[in-house]
């Protein structure tokens, strides 16, 4: 997190882009495959006693607002099952994005099962798995679907 001076100390420079990424990639749950909307997230947060409107959340995703309260930020992290650091720490954000990319590729390739023979696998091994999934999608004639707009 960059803290350059007092005027930006409370702001998260990448909040809009990182929050928007979650809206576009993380379905509501294993049972409900729809993507979240500002309203569905606001409802969940309100149920937790966090006072927020859909419009406020929309402002955070578009960058019109970038200084949410701590409790709102924590609530957003919980809704999308990401650590609070996702919004503030570049390394954590990249790792989460890479993981979501891999999961999305698995889903788009209709992978039903994956068994790896591997030692010391790390998130860095993901690239070769993603390349494999690309090959399989080409073999099966699948086009990677584009996620529908959450709004």
């Amino acid at each position: 997190m960059n803290v350059n001076d007092e005027t930006t100390a409370d702001e998260l420079p990448h909040l809009a882009e990182r929050l928007d990424h979650l809206f576009k990639t993380v379905p509501r749950s294993a049972e409900d495959r729809r993507l979240h909307t500002s309203s569905s997230v606001a409802e969940l947060l309100q149920a937790q006693g966090i006072s927020v409107t859909p419009n406020h959340i929309r402002n955070l995703t578009t960058g019109r607002r970038s200084n949410p309260s701590f409790i709102l930020l924590k609530g957003l992290a919980d809704v999308f099952h990401v650590p609070l650091d996702y919004f503030a720490n570049d390394d954590v954000a990249q790792e989460i994005k890479d993981s979501i990319q891999a999961l999305t590729a698995m889903r788009d390739t209709n992978v039903q099962r994956l068994l790896l023979r591997a030692h010391g696998v790390s998130p860095k091994s993901l690239d070769s798995i993603l390349a494999l999934l690309d090959r399989i999608r080409r073999i099966e004639g699948l086009d990677a679907p584009i996620d529908e707009d959450p709004e």
Binding site: R28, H81, L103, M106, L116, R117, L132
Partner: protein
Amino acid sequence: MIRGRPSAVTAAIRSAGPLLPDSGEIEHFLELVSADRGRPLVLLVGSLDDSVSGALISTPQADYIAVSDHASPERLCAIVCHEVAHLLMGHDHGPPLSQSLFDSGLLGDIDPELAKSVVATRCAYDHPDEVDAEVVATHISVELRRRVMRGGHTFYDDRWR
């Protein structure tokens, strides 16, 4: 080695018998397994991260065995036999995909709920028994090798049936 193992091992070894090609060639073996299962089994040899020597990836259309292009012919054979052993033993479904991904270590430190949200969960099955699969795999690779060494004939074809 076989005596005393669970019946799943014996059954898998029996079912492998008719699928072993006289040539002992791995490609021919995969063709026979594909035909027997009525489902393509595709070998993908390609660039894999050094930490990953092989993978079995299943989609509704086919099963894919991925092997690193750095693997020696013997290693390739061992990996293919191991993955086929899983298939012969009926480990067709395995644990839920999100669980496999966590077990694999690929995803780092993310929340299981996040993984479950993105890849739909499926019914839980028992974890495939790697030791049993390796017993079956060893049998298959020995039998394939025996056929290659004998120029396509073996006197022991019926021994395991």
